[in-house]
Symmetry: C2
Subunit: 255 residues, 2 copies
């Protein structure tokens, strides 16, 4: 289902017809309003009638723009997801290109910042079981996920290529794990040794694990403020990756 909405054709020339412009505008308004509700009240707060009312419409009118509520929601989530990725890409491009340590810090900090600023969206994107919802959902978010993953993957590859760091030898890897890593590397043309890939996954597990635990409040039993532990983890990861760490990488701001 879910693909019942056809993009309106613009008038033959390049300039969009008045109607197409109007459509684009209300489409934007719908997303803006929906997003506000998603962020402030969570997934359940995205309901059609209030959204429609906010722009002077009625609920069925929204079906001219989205085939279903789920479609709208998916669009909103994908938007947030894309924004996260763009933020991380910007963060990665912020420091000098050759300052890989600073770029790693900036990217991960942006990830954490976004997660803490948008806990509900973080849950929707990063902590929702697969197979929940329709396939279109999984499909679309997978596309976003690939772009997200590329940020870390390219950064990691750069780090390795600039200055290889100690990794486990292929023979030290579980044969089953080794086979999977080999498949992954081959399918995606990743020019890294298998041990480095294992290391990459290990780093991702720790970054994701710590930030998730923080966002979901599952470190409160021990830590009131996760930032010091986050800093310590990043420093350790930096050390393992052979990144020259600097004092300024620690985050001064509390909470």
């Amino acid at each position: 289902m879910s693909r019942g909405i056809v993009v309106v054709a613009s008038s033959r020339a390049g300039k969009p017809s008045r109607r197409a412009a109007q459509r684009e505008s209300t489409l934007l308004e719908i997303r803006r309003e929906g997003r506000r509700r998603l962020v402030s009240e969570g997934e359940a707060g995205v309901t059609l009638r209030p959204i429609a009312r906010a722009l002077g419409l009625t609920a069925p009118a929204l079906y001219r723009y989205y085939a279903s509520r789920d479609d709208l929601l998916l669009d909103l989530i994908a938007d947030l997801y894309a924004e996260l990725t763009e933020g991380m890409e910007r963060a990665s491009a912020g420091p000098l290109p050759q300052d890989l340590a600073a770029r790693t810090v900036a990217v991960t900090w942006e990830f954490r910042r976004w997660a803490r600023a948008n806990p509900r969206e973080f849950q929707l994107v990063f902590a929702t079981p697969v197979g929940t919802g329709e396939d279109s959902r999984t499909e679309r978010l997978d596309a976003c996920g690939q772009r997200f993953g590329r940020v870390y993957q390219t950064l990691f590859a750069e780090i390795w290529q600039r200055a290889p760091f100690p990794i486990p030898a292929d023979d030290d890897l579980d044969p089953r794990l080794r086979a999977q890593l080999a498949t992954w590397a081959a399918d995606n043309d990743i020019p890294l040794p298998l041990g480095a890939l294992a290391m990459f996954l290990g780093c991702w597990v720790r970054i994701y694990g710590l930030i998730s635990l923080e966002v979901f409040g599952h470190l409160g039993f021990a830590l009131e403020d996760v930032t010091p532990m986050y800093d310590a983890m990043m420093a350790e990861l930096g050390a393992r990756l052979g990144l020259p760490w600097r004092a300024e990488f620690g985050c001064p701001e509390p909470g």
Copy 2:
């Protein structure tokens, strides 16, 4: 609100009156039916009318047992959570008490088993932002969380006390982190050095991170079957904790 239901008084003597027994029975049926729907269709699938219909009642009747749908849901989630903890406690008690490596493996394996068998409940319990829902929710689940945490905490303390393993010195810890760990240890009478506590949190981050990523399908981009990586991680954690690892700890079964 949410506490509008008073337990019916049993007749003066110990034996429950016929009515109290009946009540207990239908209460159980409600939970059983609700649980089935929660597991099979997720949080949104727990709706009053179908549950009531399943036991030959109407929806308002359920309000004699639960003050609201949220209350019922909370009960169901807490039940699942408690079952997880009990499963892990059983797993910890399975091997010989002095075989700490086997107990660690068994406990964590049970955690992973439960998470994969109940992804939706795993999300509800371990991956839902704090502050979502009412305070009673947070409160109740926190109580369950404490019991859950105790399984790992006691096991970890036993490991350390039996045979201390290398830990960072206090001076090597970030002062802010050190202070938080000290507070935590003091408030809960944990007889472990601060470095060991940092290590505990680090282990928890990795276990939680890997299992979450698996359950939420965020390792599929690289690994088809997470078990080998899980085994590798457990072996590494075991090595760090000085646990004598044995080949049989690896899980033979795929997927």
